[in-house]
Assembly symmetry: C2
């Protein structure tokens, strides 16, 4: 049984009517994550991820791993430090203003990698030339990356250290790379679909990454630094305004947040770093590379921006820290005298049997607080289901107040007996959550 009272969650209580001027807090995800004790800044653009947010990120990572592994990606871990000499060879060392660099005791320079094209090309060069039979190859990692932003802002949306999934493809030809690119784009779509987020794939310039094809994956949300033009008729999205290029329909301009990026890189990295393969006949050739990123901590914050109200967090259901919060009776109340905490134990055991809910139920055991106060906090935290054991548990059969979270809104309760509650959770949770949890096996 997981008890809320035991969780390290340094909530910030803001007195009613307090006028707070904190100009560093510029968006609701940052404000709510901080107030709810989920993250804590350690300096400008750096954050400690606290236990409940860590659980949410764990779930998000499992979901992304499942998605990217479904198209054959293999998990590796590259060192955080990339020798600067590799970036010199590809000409990127001078062109990136946001690099953090470090020198070792022998004055050799490394960079705290913001991205790993050079490191992967160097790995493939080191073990190569590899056979065409091993292609296509798709390697990925989830790790912390670094970017010395001039002005870090919006909390986890633009931090200087951030968690990211980055995948790198190696192909024999551009046509092979394009086929893989579309397969991986499909995996991206499935990931965002599971999160119930409407993320648009938008053509983008390749910039300093080089290469021929590039898309940004944009989630519409208010504090976004990007603008997205979505056609009101066919929903085609682009970054340029004007009528829709596909159907000529009118477009709507939205703020949006880039949560992913995909590129076909060509041989920009494999050529200078000599990452070669051996074709069926003829001499070794440079690999055609592609790369794929999803900002994990950014996606978490972006989805909170897209779904939350100003007052209450709302999560994609699969990545809420816990799927269910159970609030027990207040100490000394009639229902407390009638049932005590035993009834919570029994309820917890029954709920735990729902497939997908095992270890995903949190009990708010702060029985000295009123139900109302705990419910307010639970709603602010945005747990997908809140089950209140209040006065109606004295009914025969006992009834529970069940609050199902809805984006942008405060939850309204329904009264259900245990069997009805179990049916509802089984229907909802089994199909939603089970797939993710299964993947952990």
């Amino acid at each position: 049984m997981r008890y809320l009272s035991q969780i390290f969650q340094p909530i910030i209580t803001i007195p009613k009517n307090a006028k707070i001027k904190n100009t560093e807090i510029t968006c609701k995800s940052q404000k709510l994550l901080l107030e709810c004790g989920l993250v804590r800044p350690t300096g400008t653009g750096f954050f400690s991820i606290l236990p409940l947010a860590r659980r949410s990120i764990d779930k998000l990572e499992v979901l992304i791993r499942k998605g990217i592994e479904s198209v054959g990606a293999q998990n590796i871990t590259l060192p955080t430090l990339t020798p600067s000499s590799l970036w010199e060879k590809t000409g990127r060392l001078g062109s990136e203003a946001e690099l953090l660099t470090v020198e070792d005791r022998h004055e050799k320079q490394y960079l705290l990698a913001p991205t790993y094209e050079e490191a992967v090309a160097d790995l493939l060069s080191d073990v190569g030339p590899i056979s065409y039979k091993q292609l296509p190859l798709l390697l990925y990692q989830i790790s912390n990356k670094f970017r010395d932003e001039h002005r870090p802002k919006h909390g986890l949306l633009r931090a200087r250290e951030f968690a990211m999934m980055d995948a790198y493809g190696a192909h024999a030809t551009l046509a092979c790379a394009e086929r893989a690119y579309e397969r991986i784009s499909e995996a991206y779509r499935r990931i965002f679909e599971e999160l119930q987020l409407q993320v648009f794939r938008v053509s983008a310039p390749s910039g300093v990454m080089g290469g021929s094809v590039s898309h940004e994956w944009q989630l519409p949300a208010a504090p976004g630094e990007d603008r997205l033009c979505v056609c009101l008729s066919c929903h085609h999205a682009s970054t340029s305004e004007g009528r829709c290029v596909v159907c000529g329909g009118e477009t709507e301009s939205l703020g949006s947040i880039e949560v992913g990026h995909t590129f076909i890189l060509g041989t920009k990295y494999s050529d200078p770093l000599k990452a070669h393969f051996i074709p069926p006949s003829g001499p070794a050739e440079p690999l055609v590379m592609s790369c794929y990123g999803i900002g994990i901590t950014r996606l978490l914050a972006a989805s909170l921006e897209a779904l939350s109200s100003d007052k209450s967090l709302r999560w994609p259901r699969h990545i809420a820290p816990y799927s269910v919060l159970v609030i027990g009776p207040k100490e000394g109340s009639k229902e407390w005298s009638a049932h005590g905490v035993d009834s919570i134990d029994r309820l917890y055991r029954r709920l735990s049997e729902v497939p997908g809910l095992t270890n995903d139920i949190l009990v708010d055991d702060r029985h000295t607080l009123t139900i109302g106060k705990r419910l307010l906090m639970g709603d602010k935290m945005g747990f997908p289901y809140i089950i209140v054991c209040g006065r109606s548990t004295l009914d025969n059969p006992p009834k529970y107040e069940v609050y199902k979270s809805v984006p942008h809104q405060q939850s309204a309760p329904v009264l259900l007996n245990l069997e009805e509650l179990l049916i509802m959770l089984t229907d909802k949770v089994e199909c939603d959550n089970l797939k993710i949890l299964e993947n952990k096996n």
Copy 2:
């Protein structure tokens, strides 16, 4: 179905009778991990972890998480970069020669943290003073740490970037800290027991960490830089030679590797960084802190040192990259003609139904290679069970050659029919592996 041919595993084939002088390879874990395509150096003391080793580390992390969470530890993630100013306050900045430091664009200095006492004390100070009711508090993370070793050596045993679990306790009194320390030491013992490794807890000087109590957790293994004196009668271990201080018996001196370290730190960090708690009465007081580390990549390499022969890897069974390797018939053989690959599919499905084996079976589908050659490589890789579908699958009922890996030895086969094989695997795997995989849920 997982196929070996699809795995990125850049094996190094060394010609027979080749005389190789690579003075950088100084121990067998490094040699075998490299030859088997499991890791790859990217520079002195830096390594890329490739897919099969990544799987092994994933399993090790799950096992360690389970252990440390069983005593109430909560998972957090602190930034890799700690402001140097925090280390100035505790006086450690000048005393550590192996720090890597980095400056941001505003010339603020950070260090790539080798350890997080300051960062955790600062977090507790930032959210504090916390109530005594929240104590004891135990926070942990798994992340990459950095140490600019003068002479990195022995591969993953002494790298400059390494994965580590580090946990930090906060307590009201030294007595509370001591009670928690013993509980966590018990969790350490269970972790090493599950790995079937004989790890000794040895009293140690606290050194630069400060504090009152300190133990090293030492695994006897040949290339160890430490010496361990183990009593031949009572098995008490210490770092000082001479007769055993407990029973007076004779001692044996062994090379050993430090795989973990535990400390009670007192108020060395909480005092200067003002990490305070509010006792039941009276003013706020500094927290009594403790800390606990297990080197994850080091423990992996150390366990390979302890169990492997010079020629073949041997893993603690729970953390082998896959529990079972299935080797199918050679293309064109009698058994190939009789069964083809269909029989492998059927076998795979039956094996997958064994609790704990789902997704943990690898099929060596390189059917153009002889069974002998694939078996040799499988034995070198040290898969706990290797199942060969050779000539005896023509028997009625078909029989499989089953090789069970044994530390330091080459495996010898037994011939089993499918039912016997399933019983053997169910007995062995269910009790061994299931606990770990369950925990992932």
